[in-house]
């Protein structure tokens, strides 16, 4: 078997398990892939890894009883063990009244997310890319730590009702942090895409991070309070990604969500953000390219969550949709926040007094009633005065809601692909977001961290 399954191999593997099952129903899902990474610090490679794995999950069903068993032993004996264990556990499980019938055959939108040249990006090419970045940083008299990662993989889901879905993808990401040798300046830059040819160049990334690290020296400690902020796309992605789970119909209906209305009902149809805000999920978006189906094989279609500031949709899984008499609207397909055409520099030029934020870090929920989160700025926060970046500022802790960000918009720039995860690069939820200018962003304390 290759390091990732072809469509035919995935289908044959699923069919082999489905032919073994004695359960009333059965779902099989597989994932497979090769993961190659190179990590560096102190301007040199520190570790790396090349690994391949494939796993299969069998979920047998007897009426409303089900259980799943996952294994990476994919020989005949391993598959049989997993299938039998799944059936044994499913018979012992209590009935799950929310278990929905297996989906019949579905039709999926094509998504071309697999790039062969990206899959071929081996350790030697990664080391070359790293050397380009570290040489530039070393020459600048600074210190780089970073990560180059490449995944090539494929997954599939099939069931005894005839459904089969397959998706193959590649993903390459390169992130780096440049620090001054004295530790008094830090800058970050990152890039990620399914197609490695679309990554920013190592030297270009290094240059961005070098500029931020150098500019970070001698920061001013600002008083905590409300500030107008220019959020770079990664910072916007860090906050917007928090909404992914919040667009949940069931918790809203149950009265335990930001999108619940006190006394009953949800905010569907209500204005929840600035009228320039439209948020869409779309697996086919050429900047997103995610799997076009859910774990059980339900197609994820283009879905508008917020349109012109009005909440249009919440995510209904099949059970909750059935109970509420609506069509299922599963989440998936990343998030795109529509923007304008301005560049980051143009946004900065329009701000009389404010702060430029590169990215956020250690973001945690504080109060789910208000979608209040806390976290800190990191690797580049700068003071803006009269439309110009004038000097570095100390990092700040915020206590703020992504919905407040979407409500207090001043201006939007041109969207680009980022990752919402704090590791940056290509991982975490795939997001396409613009840089934003936001007023009254709440910072509650200063951090000495650099």
């Amino acid at each position: 078997m290759a390091e990732w399954l072809s469509r035919d191999e995935a289908r044959r593997l699923c069919e082999r398990v489905l032919s073994l099952t004695r359960a009333e129903g059965c779902q099989v899902s597989v994932t497979s892939g090769a993961h190659g990474n190179t990590r560096y610090a102190a301007n040199e490679i520190s570790t790396g890894g090349d690994t391949a794995d494939a796993t299969l999950t069998v979920s047998a069903r007897f009426g409303k009883r089900t259980a799943s068993v996952t294994t990476n032993a994919l020989d005949d004996a391993g598959l049989k063990r997993a299938q039998e264990a799944s059936e044994r556990l499913a018979r012992l499980a209590p009935e799950n009244p929310e278990l929905m019938p297996l989906l019949p055959v579905q039709t999926y939108q094509p998504v071309s997310a697999f790039f062969p040249a990206t899959a071929a990006f081996d350790a030697a090419r990664r080391a070359d890319a790293v050397a380009q970045a570290t040489d530039a940083v070393q020459k600048a008299g600074l210190v780089a730590a970073g990560f180059f990662d490449r995944i090539a993989g494929a997954g599939a889901v099939a069931n005894s009702a005839g459904l089969f879905a397959y998706h193959a993808s590649t993903l390459a990401t390169h992130t780096l942090t440049v620090r001054t040798p004295e530790g008094d300046g830090s800058g970050w830059a990152g890039t990620g895409h399914n197609d490695a040819a679309r990554l920013a160049s190592p030297a270009g990334l290094a240059e961005r991070a070098i500029q931020k690290a150098r500019g970070g020296r001698d920061p001013v400690a600002l008083e905590p309070g409300k500030y107008t902020v220019v959020l770079e796309p990664t910072a916007v992605g860090n906050l917007l990604g928090l909404l992914g789970n919040a667009f949940n119909a069931r918790t809203a209906d149950e009265g335990r969500s930001f999108f619940s209305v006190r006394g009953g009902g949800t905010k569907l149809g209500q204005r929840v953000a600035d009228e320039r805000v439209t948020i869409v999920s779309d697996a086919q978006d050429p900047d997103i390219l995610t799997r076009p189906y859910t774990g059980e094989g339900l197609p994820t279609e283009r879905l508008v969550w917020i349109e012109n500031g009005v909440l249009k949709n919440l995510a209904y899984d099949r059970f909750w949709a059935d109970k509420q008499g609506v069509k299922p609207t599963p989440s998936g397909g990343g998030l795109r926040l529509t923007g304008g055409t301005g560049t980051l520099e143009e946004l900065i030029a329009g701000v009389d007094r404010g702060l430029l934020v590169t990215r956020f870090w250690y973001i945690r929920s504080v109060d789910p009633r208000t979608l209040l989160f806390t976290g800190l700025t990191r690797d580049g926060v700068f003071q803006i005065e009269q439309g110009r970046v004038t000097r570095a500022a100390r990092n700040l802790r915020f206590n703020e809601s992504p919905m407040a960000m979407l409500g207090n918009l001043v201006a939007l720039g041109r969207p680009e692909r980022v990752a919402g995860g704090e590791g940056g690069g290509g991982f975490g939820a795939t997001l396409v977001v613009p840089p934003l200018v936001v007023r009254d962003f709440t910072f509650t304390s200063v951090s000495e961290a650099v």
Binding site: E44, G48, A73, A127, G183
Partner: protein, 525 residues
């Protein structure tokens, strides 16, 4: 007893609970065929040019059972098996891994790791050196469990959770409850070219319960079972947690919080229970004393550390008061990081990271020791190497990092009685800290107002913010040995690609003076 004697005695007391290292008979991964495959991998690596090589053969088995209200929501078993080979070629690391354990594949993977190390050499400026470690020709270790959770019936597990859920839902106002239990068994064979061969069997378990109270007028509030820590124990830990017996009280607290007094922001003395304080220790002491972080090796993700550079802070940084002693260990019975040997093949040490309030050491692996030998005089690793699974390269992860109890036999009640105006916090909840571990914000599962030495009522919307060194130096009271409890986390993230580590932190309750408290409540709109 003078200070030095006390520290030594307390550290020894913790070490005395050291898990016996029985010859765990019949460990499947000790059999001759696996030993032979390990030898072949090491030989292939050496033939290809490796100066050092190790191999880990790992089987990870996990099971999770989840419920909500009166129904099951998930029942899943997972198993993953494979091996990873790590090699050192002219001071550069290489690592490769596969799920196919057979002779041609172990030799191919060993060669692949060497090829990668050779590619990495072009971007290595200072070759890696490994601290010496004693040979272990045939080591065995196993977690001290009473009941193997994988032998307990699914019916019993589900019934226990649904009973707890039912107790929670008996409380008026408690509307939703989620509960779950998760178990992990990791069987690991390690072999290295330094004449080390060990086989270990490590169990972990995580029982969890979460109750949400909803009120049309007051909104909603959630109480989680944070007092029940994950542990390196068997099913007996789940039974002892007594969810059915405690769910009602937690549900009442969720309901009570709906209408509790919203805290007045300001400065307060804080009395922190071990069920809360363990996480503050984890974030503000354990992470900043990881040596890779200190030296910049985590700069691109987890961050660096304020406790740096070593030459400026070791033996000098006053982290806290004189009675503050922080121990690193992988030996306390039932803790999550306990093991016989780390993933370098080193038997971990029990040692002090902070002694009498002063930072004196870091967490180390074999490839890090030489960085600080001139400062510490130490030439061996503390045994802090860990890789999450066969497919993850091992690196420095924290051992159990614990605040040792005080000399006086004080209890939480004594700390409260001594406090005129304060807040008493139970259980961990929201947590956030910057990438150098200076500035943090934490909240708890339940907070209570203390006035005149007594608890006078529940508070809501409480979070405290502080600067690490200021906070620890404000600690002025600490509980005694009898009040020492162990908390911990099942999933501590670090590294790129990200890896998860399970770790415990012991501590007594402690009091901190004059800490900034925020009100995190806002108008819901």
């Amino acid at each position: 007893m003078d200070r030095r004697d006390f520290v030594t005695t307390t550290a020894a007391a913790a070490a005395a609970t050291l898990v016996p290292r029985p010859m765990a008979a019949g460990l499947p991964q000790a059999d001759a065929s696996i030993r032979d495959l390990c030898r072949r991998a090491l030989d292939a690596a050496r033939r290809a040019g490796a100066g050092y090589a190790d191999v880990r053969v790992v089987r990870n088995r996990s099971q999770s059972v989840s419920t909500r209200e009166q129904q099951i929501t998930n029942l899943a078993d997972e198993e993953t098996f494979g091996f990873g080979v790590r090699v050192l070629v002219a001071g550069a690391w290489g690592f490769a891994a596969s799920r196919e354990l057979n002779v041609p594949e172990v030799e191919r993977i060993a060669r692949l790791a060497v090829t990668q190390a050779k590619a990495n050499r072009r971007a290595v400026r200072r070759p890696v050196t490994l601290a010496p470690t004693p040979a272990v020709p045939d080591g065995r270790w196993q977690s001290p469990i009473e009941t193997d959770p994988f032998t307990v019936s699914i019916e019993d597990k589900v019934a226990l959770l649904l009973r707890a859920n039912a107790e929670a839902l008996k409380v008026s106002g408690a509307r939703f409850v989620n509960s779950s239990m998760a178990f992990v068994l990791q069987e690991k064979t390690f072999a290295s070219t330094d004449d080390i061969f060990t086989v270990q069997k490590n169990y972990r378990c995580l029982p969890q319960l979460s109750i949400t109270a909803v009120d049309p007028a007051a909104g909603f509030a959630t109480r989680q079972s944070a007092e029940v820590a994950p542990a390196g124990r068997g099913y007996e830990w789940v039974v002892q947690a007594d969810f059915p017996g405690r769910a009602g009280r937690w549900a009442e607290e969720a309901v009570q919080r709906l209408t509790a007094k919203s805290v007045e922001p300001g400065r307060y003395d804080l009395i922190l229970e071990p069920s809360h304080l363990w996480l503050t220790i984890h974030e503000s002491i354990a992470h900043p004393t990881e040596l890779d972080r200190v030296m910049g090796y985590e700069a691109n993700y987890a961050g660096t550390s304020f406790a740096a550079p070593p030459e400026r802070v070791l033996g000098k940084l006053k982290y806290g008061p004189e009675f503050m002693n922080i121990q690193g260990d992988r030996s306390q019975a039932g803790t999550l990081s306990a093991c016989g040997w780390d993933d370098d093949g080193v038997a971990p040490e029990t040692y002090l990271i902070i002694k009498n309030g002063i930072l004196v050491d870091y967490q180390t692996t074999r490839d890090q020791v030489a960085w600080i030998t001139p400062l510490t005089g130490r030439t061996r690793s503390h045994g802090c190497s860990y890789g999450e699974s066969w497919s993850d390269v091992q690196f420095q992860r924290m051992p159990n990092v614990s605040l040792l109890p005080g000399e006086q036999a004080l209890t939480t009640e004594d700390l409260i009685a001594a406090t005129d105006r304060g807040i008493y916090i139970v259980g961990n909840s929201s947590y956030s800290i910057d990438q150098q571990r200076y500035n943090f914000q934490f909240s708890g599962q339940a907070a209570y107002e203390v006035q005149g030495g007594k608890i006078v009522g529940m508070l809501k919307d409480v979070a405290y913010q502080a600067r690490t060194v200021d906070f620890w130096n404000s600690m002025d009271m600490i509980g005694g040995q009898g009040s020492y409890r162990i908390g911990g986390t099942f999933n501590d993230g670090k590294g790129q690609p990200g890896q998860s580590n399970a770790v415990s932190h012991g501590c007594p309750p402690a009091r901190f003076r004059n800490v900034t408290v925020l009100n995190t409540g806002r108008d819901r709109g």
